[in-house]
Symmetry: C2
Subunit: 410 residues, 2 copies
Amino acid sequence: MPIAQRSVEKLIGLVDGNMQRAGGQKISLPILTPTGLWKKTGRLEGDISEFYMVRDRSGKQFLMSPTHEEAVTAMVATTAPISYRQLPLRLYQIGPKFRDELKSRFGLMRAKEFLMKDMYTFDVSEETARDTYSRVSAAYDRLFKQLEVPFVKVNAATGMMGGSLSHEYHYVSPVGEDTLMQCSACGFAGNAEVLDSATTECPNCRSSQLSQVRGVEVAHTFLLGEKYSKPLGATYLNTSGKPQSLVMGCYGIGITRVLASALEVLSTDQELRWPKLLAPYDVCLIGPKQGSKEQQPAEAVENELLQHLGQICGAQELLHDDRKELTIGKRLLDAKRLGHPLTIVVGARAVQQEAPKLELHVSGGEKLELDISEALKLVAEHSRQKKSLLAGRVREVEESRISQSIGHQL
Amino acid sequence: MPIAQRSVEKLIGLVDGNMQRAGGQKISLPILTPTGLWKKTGRLEGDISEFYMVRDRSGKQFLMSPTHEEAVTAMVATTAPISYRQLPLRLYQIGPKFRDELKSRFGLMRAKEFLMKDMYTFDVSEETARDTYSRVSAAYDRLFKQLEVPFVKVNAATGMMGGSLSHEYHYVSPVGEDTLMQCSACGFAGNAEVLDSATTECPNCRSSQLSQVRGVEVAHTFLLGEKYSKPLGATYLNTSGKPQSLVMGCYGIGITRVLASALEVLSTDQELRWPKLLAPYDVCLIGPKQGSKEQQPAEAVENELLQHLGQICGAQELLHDDRKELTIGKRLLDAKRLGHPLTIVVGARAVQQEAPKLELHVSGGEKLELDISEALKLVAEHSRQKKSLLAGRVREVEESRISQSIGHQL
């Protein structure tokens, strides 16, 4: 729907920025991948109950791709010979993925169709592939700090994806479907899959304060090696002109899942709360009710505010609730439901003779009474904080919330 | 691939801007639509050989949607009762569509999977739906003028989509698969489907200068009426609180097809040419070859240019070809292939004692020799032209290229 779509587009912009800083080039892979490619990599041999498969009019079979390792590797394999000089290649896309889940649930959290950012990297050697892994991981760390939702990064099993090194990013939430082991003494965290989930001893600090929490997996990184490039013949020409298998990595972020689970973690029963950079609008402005006795003078204030706000936070970040036929209370309720970071109300008190005040609702429950210039200052401060986050100046307090993890020993 | 992807993203941004100016709100509909919905509207009764169909693990059947009238109408039908006050609704998305073509060809021009912008509008009456039709059509006209590729707008048959009024936007090209009738006397144009293709008499000016040309359909608008809202029960509450069928329209633009066919129309055998607003980069900068005797002084010029160009056209619009191991000639050939609007070469003549000159290649074949300040002026002029186009100041010359059409008599 339009409101959430705005948030999705902001997240896409944020991810684009971070991927491009990590040397990523955006591409677009077909949704349909011939099953023949998956046969070559052996990935049709396991449990395929989650795959949507479709045949075209000629009988050729395709997967509605749940992931694109085969597609991108086959594409790279069929391009003109790649020279070592052209590497590393870091290709990514943002698009729909499909998984025929037995139990889809929690809306966007586990849907059969979902939006993913998937990056595939191609290097000359395991060593440079590890450099790439560090660089992309750093971009992930930066992104998740920019979102200001506490996250844990854990060592993970490589599973059906294969490869030698893997990390998961989790949001801790009771609705999470993964079990994480977290140490309250040193902050260490790991996926229960790769640890002994019966133990309470922390493998890092040896304290006995390891306990289970639930996590929502929002991102995953893999060092894949030659698992896909070998069977699909994706090679490059080395310094002596000889073809050699490309060394790959893949890096996913669940775009719609990040959004849904961030809202889940941040919100209360009373109020939706968004990561600062993902709120659909920064400011909601509610003017006087039609027919109220303050309508005319209050509208003058409203119009003045509209102009100033447009300049401060950008017109596209301003939601003007001009349904004047509704009471302020009714519109304020809608605004609370949508969880705007700042909601400004121009009511009767905005036009009183002595010390006129705007009502300002800050996401998180605070309600302030401010004069116009104070209100505008608050909006400007919000915009400044956003700009600062976008520039990568993430708060130290966020940094300390991140559990020290095996990943940091990379 | 990355270069074309940049162009696609620019086109998406341009389309977003124009749709939002026309009151559009962006949404995202699922790719899979239950076939049950299509049964209700009767659209599974015709030729379904172009549909990709898939069943999930429970046996439920879905279409990989070639279009989304059913999906969006069912969605609107199941939201809370919509009041006449909330209308019109103009919802659009940009996403992949699927058609199991018998003959896919010309790459992105007719592919089985392609990117579409599809808008669906909901109005209280046929009359207001016609207002919506005019407003969205105006947004389409503006967009196609911004692209600066000559187009014709013709009255069209409504076909499987149904409805009462329809127009197509075409690029004229020998690779086009539609036959248009165009009058060289008055500029009138129509689709041969709705005219008598044997006649040479123009139905507009009665001259006998009507002849056939080939067109690539790049966009299509339909006034749908109640064809979908009736069977799917999509209603609103009128002023007396009674439910009434919504009156719909739908409006498509083939995103990837616009790009492919614009390139087809504009390019020559020697050189790719992009619409100004869609070129992947505005400027390509080629510096001296490594080891050449002018390398050092020329690199000083190159660095100076890099800084200035970044400021003038934005760093993201600048492609710096720093493959210094390649000759200038080889890199210039690549630049020509990619068809950058401006390519600047810093070679030996850039550092000669007397009247140093940069070589500047303008898309379309012109090669200029300019000093730095002249070159920068040209880049600034290009950026100014782009800004002007983005602001909707389309050239009058483009306007006159548009055939007068039945559509203009709306």
